[in-house]
Structure formats: structure tokens, C-alpha cells
């Protein structure tokens, strides 16, 4: 028995389980598929439940109140209570609504929300679908959710949801570009679309192989893309654009409750609304997962080699712990943003995407290129790093100034004589 390596425990278990089925190959294939998809279906709705609780508690604490504390200790069972309430609520479908599209909308939104999870690398060889074109598949399926939002808005045949649907499409389509372009810089630098290669590129393998523990930890962290100029700018653009993709706080135009009641979700109640709600959070997790994979070094975190094993790649703390920690950290930042920032207006939203994020993302690609060819002083990007940051900061400033226009100046107020 090879030494138990905590990092690969689950992988070894699945291989051990599959070894029993060698005699009938068809069943083995089926079981392999099940073993890789069922954990996704189980884990991510769990994360969704935890996040709803986190969100309500976090927002409450930001607003100096306590948040749910009646259902279970510290309100832990609040997601269960919400779930049951959603299931028991009557599912009202408006009479004039288009029955088929109204029913299909949450389904069409659920499908991409879960399929894009299969591309994310949770651990060294724990990736549900080791597809060579991982990132492109992610963006392709991500764009299908735009269609689902339209179907919801259009089929409920009410003014508010139509307005919400139209706003949602315009927003999601125009924010897909900065999202993809900021992802492109990372693909350009790693040279491959495969998510496992992207994560591997962010780990300095010779440091990890080295004997002393400090170097091993550093090896896992130093290589992250977010510490490079194009990585840092790309991460910010990616994060802001992902906020818009999943209609979260500063960009939650479609369900702007103060203007058009609940946008495309107005006519949904009961279980369908719960599906919408869940797929919004699951796609939030998926996009956070991708941004960790692209910029924050996926599953690599401060980790040392377990003392008893000689395999150089073994890790004491399993990789997916770091992966989920980073995803939840990004989720907390989203909750924090939701507690602070007001909503953008539609035309500012469009202007922000096309006139600010897009040029910045294109600029980022140039900076990436320059960084790649900038001379390095035996391995350390001495020239590329500072100039990269300088160029990105300058472009951030001047594009910002170009867009601001004269009106949003700080005003000075005089007093009556």
C-alpha cells in the first residue's frame, strides 16, 4: 500500500473503488462519471446554504444588527428553514405567461451553473472533467445563462420582468467581454487553455521539490499570477466583471428592487424561485472558482510535504481546502461589497463596461506581452514587474479621467451671508 498521502486520499479511494469494477467496463465508466459529478451536486448546494447564512449574518453585522439567531444555534439552520419555506410556498404561474418558457427558465439557468463547475481543478488530479479547452468551455457555458435570464423575463409577460430581462441581457453581454479578455491574458501567459496546466504554472516546482519547509510554502505562493502586474490588474477586472455576470451588488440592475420590483424574477415563487436563487449562488461560486484558478493559484496554498512520505508532490493539507478557502474569501468580499455599495444606473453600467473595463483589459494584454519579453535578471522580472505596474496604474488613471467627464467633481458649498 503506498503511504497514505492526505492530499490524494480521495483520489486513491476512488481508484480503489473503481478497481472492483474492472470486469464490466461499461459500469466502471458510469460509476467513474457518478463519482466525479455526485460530489459536485452535493458539495455546491451545501456551499450555497452556508453562503446564504454567511450573507445574512455578515450583512447584519455590517449593519449593526444580529442577523438570524432563532433557527438553531447562531441561526445555523436558517438555510434549511429558507429551503423548506421555498418548497412549501405555492408556485404561482401567471395566466397570460408563456407556460413552457416560464417553466424552462430556471432549468436552463441551472444547467450551465452546474456544468461550469466540472472544469475547475479542486486538487492535484481531482478535476471532474479534464478537458483540454477548460477555460473556453467555461466562458461558453457561462454565456448560456444570459439566455435563461431573458426567457424568465420575457415569459412572465409583465412590464417589470420585461424591463429586468432586457437590462440583464444588455449587462451580461457587455460584461462578458472584459471577463474573457482578462482571462485571455492568463491563457496567453500560461500558453494553454487547460485549467490544470494554469495551476501547475503558478507553482514554482523546483522550490516545492526542495527540502526545507519554508521554501516549499513559498513555492506554492510566490508563483501566483496575482503578484504579477498583468495578473493583479486582470484579477481586479475579472472580479468586477464577474460581479456583473452574476448580477451581484453594484450591478444588480435586473432585480433592482427599488426600481423594477424584482426584475425578471417577479413572477416566480416557490420552488422555481429557489432554483433561480440557488443557481445564482452556484454560478457565483463557479466564477469565484475560476478567478482563483486563473489568478490565485487554484488549489496551491501554504503547504508542506508530510514528513512520512518521500513523494515530492505530496502535500500535508489537501489542495481543495485551499481552493474552497479562497472561494469563500472571494464570496465574503462580495458580501462586503453588497453591504456597502449602491447600485449603478443602466447607462453608467454600459459606459463602465465598454469605455473603462474593456480598454483596461486590452491594455492588460499588452502589459502581459511586455512582461513576457522584458529582460529578467536571472529569473527575477526586474524590468517587467515595476514597469508593468506603472503602465497599468497610468492607464487606469487616464482612462478613468477620460470617462469621468467634468460633472462628477467634488462640490464646495458656501453659506448664506
Amino acid at each position: 500500500m503506498t503511504p497514505i498521502n492526505p492530499d490524494q486520499l480521495i483520489v486513491q479511494l476512488t481508484q480503489w473503488a473503481l478497481s472492483f469494477l474492472d470486469s464490466y467496463p461499461l459500469v466502471a465508466v458510469l460509476v467513474a462519471i457518478l463519482l466525479s459529478t455526485v460530489p459536485l451536486i452535493a458539495v455546491f448546494p451545501g456551499c450555497f446554504a452556508i453562503t446564504t447564512w454567511l450573507e445574512r449574518k455578515g450583512l447584519a453585522r455590517i449593519q449593526n444588527r444580529i442577523g438570524p439567531n432563532r433557527t438553531g444555534p447562531l441561526g445555523i439552520l436558517q438555510p434549511a428553514a429558507d429551503g423548506i419555506k421555498m418548497l412549501l410556498k405555492e408556485d404561482i404561474v401567471p395566466k397570460t405567461s408563456d407556460r413552457l418558457a416560464h417553466f424552462l427558465a430556471p432549468v436552463v439557468l441551472m444547467v450551465p451553473a452546474f456544468t461550469i463547475l466540472s472544469v475547475l481543478p479542486f486538487n492535484r488530479n481531482m478535476i471532474p472533467a479534464a478537458v483540454d479547452t477548460g477555460v473556453i468551455l467555461f466562458f461558453a457555458l457561462g454565456s448560456v445563462s444570459t439566455l435563461a435570464v431573458f426567457m424568465a423575463g420575457w415569459s412572465s409577460r409583465n412590464k417589470y420582468s420585461l424591463l429586468g430581462g432586457m437590462r440583464a441581457i444588455a449587462q451580461m453581454v457587455s460584461y462578458e467581454l472584459p471577463l474573457v479578455l482578462s482571462g485571455v491574458t492568463v491563457i496567453m501567459m500560461t500558453g494553454s487553455l487547460d485549467t490544470t496546466k494554469i495551476v501547475a504554472q503558478q507553482q514554482l516546482s523546483e522550490w516545492i521539490q526542495s527540502s526545507n519547509a519554508g521554501l516549499q510554502c513559498l513555492g506554492q505562493i510566490i508563483g501566483w499570477n496575482v503578484f504579477t502586474p498583468w495578473g493583479f490588474a486582470g484579477f481586479l477586472i475579472f472580479f468586477v466583471a464577474s460581479l456583473a455576470e452574476i448580477n451581484r451588488c453594484p450591478f444588480d440592475l435586473p432585480e433592482a428592487d427599488s426600481e423594477i420590483v424584482a426584475g425578471h424574477l417577479t413572477e416566480y415563487s416557490g420552488f422555481k424561485y429557489a432554483l433561480f436563487f440557488m443557481s445564482e449562488y452556484v454560478s457565483a461560486f463557479a466564477i469565484n472558482g475560476l478567478s482563483t484558478t486563473l489568478f490565485l493559484g487554484g488549489w496551491s496554498g501554504p503547504n508542506i510535504r508530510p514528513p512520512w512520505s518521500d513523494d515530492p508532490n505530496a502535500l500535508l493539507i489537501p489542495g481543495f481546502v485551499w481552493f474552497f478557502a479562497k472561494m469563500f474569501a472571494l464570496m465574503l468580499v462580495m458580501i462586503w461589497i453588497r453591504g456597502t455599495l449602491p447600485r449603478l444606473r443602466v447607462d453608467h453600467l454600459m459606459g463602465f463596461a465598454w469605455k473603462f473595463l474593456l480598454p483596461l483589459a486590452i491594455m492588460n494584454i499588452f502589459v502581459g506581452g511586455f512582461y513576457y519579453y522584458a529582460p529578467r535578471w536571472h529569473g527575477i522580472p526586474v524590468v517587467g514587474w515595476p514597469i508593468g505596474f506603472l503602465v497599468m496604474y497610468l492607464s487606469y488613471e487616464c482612462i478613468g479621467r477620460l470617462n469621468r467627464g467634468p460633472k462628477t467633481a467634488q462640490r464646495v458649498y458656501h453659506y448664506a451671508s
Binding site: 428592487d257 427599488s258 423594477i260 420590483v261 455599495l341 447600485r343 449603478l344
Partner: protein, 383 residues
């Protein structure tokens, strides 16, 4: 597309052989999360821009003025709390001022000081919660609103301690106040007033520099100076358009001439100015409160002739600078204990008349903010 190109009343609907988009009629009805209370706006939209906006109200009409004609003068004092249920102290004071002007009653010195303190405390909590509601309309999921409400609680506890009730104080009487301040009240009030600037700094860092609020509030719902004057707008909305008119300086009612405070004026008259004027007025109110709390004298508080109060036949119009604008009471007495005519001049009702002119040509999201920035309370609008 600035508002000048669309004249206030005349609006074009895209027609002719152009891409005829049908105008979308939306009624942001009484049950709408962003109308403050039961208030409906019939908005017709061309795409996102507002083409026609008709405010519809009267859902909260309680026949206050007719009832006042059949109750005694003292009897309608508790009803004035229900006019603008955010600032019951200033409503009481306006009514008491009108009755005193009509019957010529004198008000003892300490009562005047108590009235100024209560009025300025109401202004603080009203402006704080208004700014909170405005950011709530902007979509900030209630965080600034809850900070404002946390501070408002301290002030409401003070009201409850003095008058017995948090919002429906019924505390002012003709010729003074109902009962003197309990012992220890002034010390607690001093503490609350001293803590307030810390909250205001936190509020301002959270809001005024915020780029999203800058881009959403500036140049939105611009109220030109002359339109404001012609439509007899009063209060912070008027001062935001740059008109120097504050009743505390103009009328010098009560003892406001003893305190030195300044009146902030806006320049453009858009949502952002109305929003900033209220923040600056809060700072001025804190200044007044500090001076009033320092120099409040001892002495009697009221001469209780409230019960069978039979004024000589006369008519009077008393007005004060309420947090929402000029709140006036017009009384005609005919010698009987019941007023012959009792009319309230509600500031938010009159400020509402210019809502359409401010919203034409703006987006639907701006119409909501412009409504929020006018600061209306439906109890006062419908009476």
C-alpha cells in the same frame, strides 16, 4: 440629454416612420418598495427614459382638517403628531405657535429653549433617516439607513424620556410645554449631541466620496432656481437650488436669533446638492443644540390654561422651518372652544408638485431617487 431640450409640459413620443417604440405605461403603485408610504407614480417610459410622470396620492387622507373643526384646540394637538410622523415635535410647535399668535399668549423663557432643543433634535434624526432612505433607494441594501436609525434611537429615547412617547410626543402646549424636562435629561442630551459628529463623519466618508453616488446623483433631477421659487418650494430643496430662505433667519421665531448658525446653500440644485445640504444642516443643528444646552435657564415651563381655552375671534397663520420645509398652520377662531377653520400648509405636498418637471428626460432609476431626495412623508402630503 439635459432637461432643457424637453419643455416641462410638452413631451414627444417617438412616432412617425421612426422605429416606433410603444410607450410603456408603468404605475409605480401604492405598494412599491421605493415610494415612501402609499404614493403612486404613473410613469410612461420610452425605453428607460421617463416621458410622462403623474404623481397620484390621497391614499392616506384622514380628513384631519375637518376633524379639527369639531375638536377643541387642545384636542387636535395629538393629531398634529400624525401629520409628519417623523418630526412630531416640530408639528406640535408649529400648531402651538399659530395658537399663541392668534390668542397672544406669552411663552416662558425655559419653554422656548426646550422647544428649540426638541426642534433641532427632530431635524437631526429626520435628516439622518432621510439620507439613509435616499441611499436605500440607490440600492445600498440599507447599510447607511441602519446607521442613521441607530443614531435616531438615541434621540427617540430622549423624546420618550421627556414626553412619554417616542414618535407621538404631544409635548407642546399653547404657551409652553406640557411638563418640565426630567432630571438628568439635559446631561444625557449633551452626551448624545457630543456623540453625533462622530456618526456624521462616518456617514459622510461612507457616502459623499463614493463614485457611484457621485455619478448617480449629480445632475439628476435638477430643480432650477426660478422654478423652485415660482412653485413655492421651501426647505432644503429650495436652499439646494441656491435660494437663501430659511425661516429661522427670516422670521426669527422662537429664540433663534440668540443662536449663531449658518445656512448652507447649494449651487446646481440636483439630487446631490439636496443630499449634501441635509448633511451640512445636520452639522448646523448640532451647533445650535450645543449653544442651547449650554445656556438653558431655570424657571416655569407652562401656564396650564389648556383645558377650557376659548380664544377671542381672530385669525392667525403661524409657520416654522420644519425639517421638510415651511410648515404653517392657519387658524380662524370664532370665540367657541373649537376652531372655525383649521388649515395646515404641508411642505412635502407642495415640494411634490415639481416632481414631474425634475424627472422628465431622466431614467426610471433617477425618478425614484428624485422622489427620495424631495423627502416626502405621506401623512403630511395627504393630511
Amino acid at each position: 440629454m439635459s432637461t432643457e431640450t424637453i419643455a416641462p409640459r410638452e413631451y414627444q413620443i417617438y412616432s412617425g416612420d421612426d422605429l416606433r417604440t410603444n410607450v410603456l405605461e408603468i404605475s409605480m403603485g401604492p405598494q412599491h418598495p421605493s415610494t415612501h408610504g402609499v404614493f403612486r407614480m404613473d410613469v410612461s417610459l420610452d425605453g428607460e427614459t421617463v416621458v410622462k410622470l403623474k404623481p397620484v396620492f390621497g391614499y392616506l387622507h384622514r380628513n384631519h382638517e375637518k376633524i379639527a373643526e369639531t375638536t377643541s384646540y387642545l384636542g387636535s394637538m395629538p393629531y398634529t403628531d400624525r401629520l409628519d410622523y417623523f418630526c412630531s415635535m416640530t408639528n406640535n410647535w408649529a400648531y402651538a405657535l399659530a395658537v399663541e399668535k392668534m390668542a397672544g399668549l406669552a411663552v416662558p423663557e425655559r419653554a422656548e429653549y426646550i422647544r428649540v432643543i426638541m426642534a433641532e433634535l427632530t431635524r437631526l434624526q429626520n435628516h439622518a433617516s432621510l439620507v439613509g432612505f435616499l441611499t436605500n433607494d440607490l440600492g445600498a441594501s440599507g447599510t447607511p439607513l441602519l446607521y442613521a436609525i441607530r443614531e435616531r434611537e438615541h434621540i427617540l429615547d430622549l423624546f420618550e424620556w421627556a414626553s412619554g412617547a417616542r414618535m407621538m410626543c404631544n409635548y407642546m402646549r399653547f404657551g409652553g410645554v406640557r411638563n418640565d424636562l426630567p432630571s438628568g435629561w439635559l446631561a444625557q442630551c449633551k452626551k448624545v449631541v457630543d456623540d453625533f459628529p462622530a456618526f456624521m463623519d462616518e456617514f459622510e466618508t461612507l457616502l459623499t466620496g463614493n463614485e457611484i453616488i457621485l455619478s448617480r446623483c449629480q445632475n439628476v433631477g435638477v430643480l432650477p432656481r426660478d422654478l423652485a421659487i415660482n412653485a413655492s418650494i421651501t426647505g432644503p430643496c429650495l436652499r439646494a437650488s441656491g435660494v437663501d430662505y430659511d425661516l429661522r433667519k427670516v422670521d426669527k421665531y422662537g429664540i433663534y436669533d440668540r443662536f449663531d448658525f449658518k445656512v448652507p446653500l447649494g449651487s446646481v440644485g440636483d439630487c446631490y446638492d439636496r443630499f449634501m445640504i441635509r448633511l451640512l444642516e445636520m452639522r448646523e443643528s448640532v451647533k445650535i443644540l450645543k449653544q442651547a444646552l449650554a445656556t438653558i435657564p431655570e424657571g416655569p415651563v407652562n401656564d396650564s390654561k389648556a383645558r377650557n381655552f376659548r380664544p377671542k375671534p381672530a385669525e392667525a397663520y403661524g409657520r416654522i422651518e420644519g425639517p421638510k420645509g415651511e410648515l404653517g398652520f392657519y387658524l380662524v377662531s370664532d370665540g367657541t372652544p373649537k376652531p372655525h377653520r383649521y388649515h395646515v400648509r404641508p411642505p412635502s405636498f407642495i415640494n411634490l408638485t415639481v416632481l414631474e418637471d425634475m424627472c422628465l428626460g431622466q431614467k426610471i432609476a433617477d425618478a425614484v431617487i428624485v422622489l427620495g431626495s424631495i423627502d416626502i412623508v405621506l401623512g403630511e402630503v395627504d393630511r
